[in-house]
Symmetry: C2
Subunit: 215 residues, 2 copies
């Protein structure tokens, strides 16, 4: 089993703030995510700027695209991202169109499992050729007090058994990682748990230590 990667979600309101975070964290993490908030605030130039600065890193555009899969994929893949997210309630046609563009660029599409979704849909996503999913405990759900638990673990395992590479996100801290032990998680994704820490690089190393301890 490969070790899970560590991904920082740059959910900043502007590019300069995000770059302060990447300067502190780029040497410590595996994947840089242009978070939904940053995408909406600054647009696709955020992808292009971070690609220019970090040519060797894996970069994700967390658009949570719901429509116009081909066009929005072209917008962010042409700026240099490796992966782009689509929201799980997007029509299959949107996912297929996005995947086609992603592959043209040698990239990939990740389905953001957010809000309502079913394993019947998941089976269809696999049929369409999609292989990456992000299991997401939403920010607003997190703020409402929902915790990580056995139900989450069971769903993640079932997705893995279906052939998905599953990344995990939503209010994650290094201390939480033990509960995912023995599941082949693709990436652990944290935002403010990394760049919002007093010492971001140390917070990243705590995640890496927890990964090395459990995988």
């Amino acid at each position: 089993m490969s070790k899970p990667l560590l991904q920082v979600a740059l959910d900043h309101l502007d590019i300069p703030s995000a770059l302060k975070a990447t300067r502190a964290l780029a040497g410590e993490v595996d994947v840089l995510e242009i978070g939904t908030i940053l995408c909406y605030a600054e647009g696709a130039r955020a992808v292009g700027i971070i690609r220019a600065l970090y040519p060797e890193m894996t970069i994700v555009a967390d658009l949570k695209a719901a429509d116009a899969g081909s066009t929005v994929a072209e917008i962010v893949f042409s700026q240099g991202c490796d992966w782009m997210t689509v929201i799980c309630c997007a029509p299959y046609a949107t996912m297929e169109a996005a995947l086609k563009v992603a592959r043209k660029y040698g990239g990939d599409i990740q389905i953001e499992l957010y809000g309502e979704w079913t394993f019947e849909q998941a089976a269809k996503w696999r049929q369409l050729g999609l292989t990456q999913a992000i299991y997401h405990r939403g920010r607003d759900a997190g703020l409402a007090g929902q915790q990580w638990g056995e139900e989450d673990i069971g769903k993640i395992r079932r997705l893995v058994d279906m052939g998905f590479e599953v990344s995990v996100t939503g209010g994650l801290y290094a201390k939480d990682l033990g509960i995912f032990k023995k599941i082949p998680v693709k990436c652990f994704i944290a935002g403010r748990g990394l760049y919002g820490a007093e010492d971001p690089a140390r917070a990243a190393r705590d995640f890496k230590d927890a990964i090395n301890l459990n995988w």
Copy 2:
């Protein structure tokens, strides 16, 4: 019954292209929408620029937000939009958080009915205080050949009966408007059907004529 409004969805890849469209259409339509594509490509500055140019018009940011309702609403309402969209599969907590920010600015939230949704969810949205929905035949579904029909009309009527103000979009042309006759549609939304026409202002007047004929 009020006459339906006409909304242009600016689904351009950059702000200059969108401004060519607004120069041709601002005098002919009621609502300017910063489309999802333009939001993702240029970010929230697209809202601010169009607000500066058209201080009296109703402006929509079609983010299709799925998470972080409060933050993303703050991003676009602070730039001057009147309405912002959330995707129908967003958690209720996201919708509530976005609505709270919208109301602070005297604005409103529209639920984009895109992909999978149920009338049970719609009842919950009304309980949360949401009153605007956008009935959407998706672009990718449209490209796949799906047509407007009785099923669409029935669903729109049921939403109206539940107390929603319903806007309608997705591959709409002036000739299609007759099939919505006698439904109190809030806005008809067209993108390339307006700005992609040989004479955009005339295409808008064709929509207005169809509205005046049927309502």
